[in-house]
């Protein structure tokens, strides 16, 4: 029962998501959640040891962010978002 977690802010939504993760789950940062690339990079690099993390391209580009070369985070488009919802058994949204 792998779960895709979507996170749309770097504050409470990200914090709550972190304590709801099981091995094999994935996290997709979207909307203001993409700011976690700057604000929570320590948390993300820890997380990446066990969990696959993705960012939504449209939101990264809109905000003038760039993906972190030093972190193994995949950038996906809406099609990739769809594929993540198929690959996991359910979706939990944190906002």
């Amino acid at each position: 029962m792998a779960t895709l977690h979507t996170v749309n802010k770097a504050g409470q939504p990200l914090e709550l998501c972190l304590r709801a993760l099981n091995p094999g789950d994935s996290v997709l940062l979207l909307e203001e959640g993409v700011y976690a690339l700057y604000e929570a990079s320590d948390v993300l690099s820890d997380l990446l040891r066990h969990i696959a993390v993705y960012v939504l391209e449209a939101d990264v580009l809109a905000r003038g962010m760039t993906n972190r070369d030093d972190l193994d985070i995949d950038m996906v488009d809406y099609q990739g978002f769809v594929e993540l919802t198929v690959a996991n058994d359910k979706v939990v949204s944190w906002f």
């Binding site: 749309n8 809406y78 978002f81 979706v91 949204s93």
Partner: protein, 130 residues
């Protein structure tokens, strides 16, 4: 796969309505089925027929309606949430003696049960909140 989408945001407050719309388009492009879009909380404003943004901004209710009618998607607006926020069709306007109605065609006003039914029936539920 069969999807149910729950949309909680209006275009003015957050970004979730637009994210949901882009996701819905990508779902259909990938050959999936959307069994229901349920508009709840501030998401009910996406059914308003009176939204008129500046020309350089997207009109989200119009875009949603286009997708819903062209693709024949079952679109339900939570009736309790809509009444609280001033989004009503002609029947409800008459029932509550309101001076007008502002509901787009192609959507249905109904209860929360429609969200729970779709949730159980769908292979995947995706919630879009602000």
């Amino acid at each position: 796969m069969k999807y149910a989408l729950a949309v909680y945001g209006a275009s003015g407050t957050g970004q979730s309505s637009l994210t949901a719309l882009s996701f819905a388009r990508a779902l259909l492009a990938a050959g999936h089925e959307i069994i229901r879009v349920f508009f709840y909380q501030d998401g009910v404003h996406n059914a308003s027929s009176l939204v008129s943004p500046p020309q350089d901004e997207v009109n989200l209710p119009e875009q949603w309606q286009k997708l819903i009618t062209e693709q024949g998607i079952d679109a339900v607006v939570c009736i309790a949430a809509a009444l609280r926020r001033g989004v009503v069709n002609t029947e409800e306007a008459e029932r509550y003696e309101l001076p007008a109605s502002n509901f787009r065609e192609g959507y249905e006003l109904s209860g929360l049960g429609q969200l729970l039914e779709a949730t159980v029936e769908a292979d995947r539920l995706v919630t879009f909140g602000d």
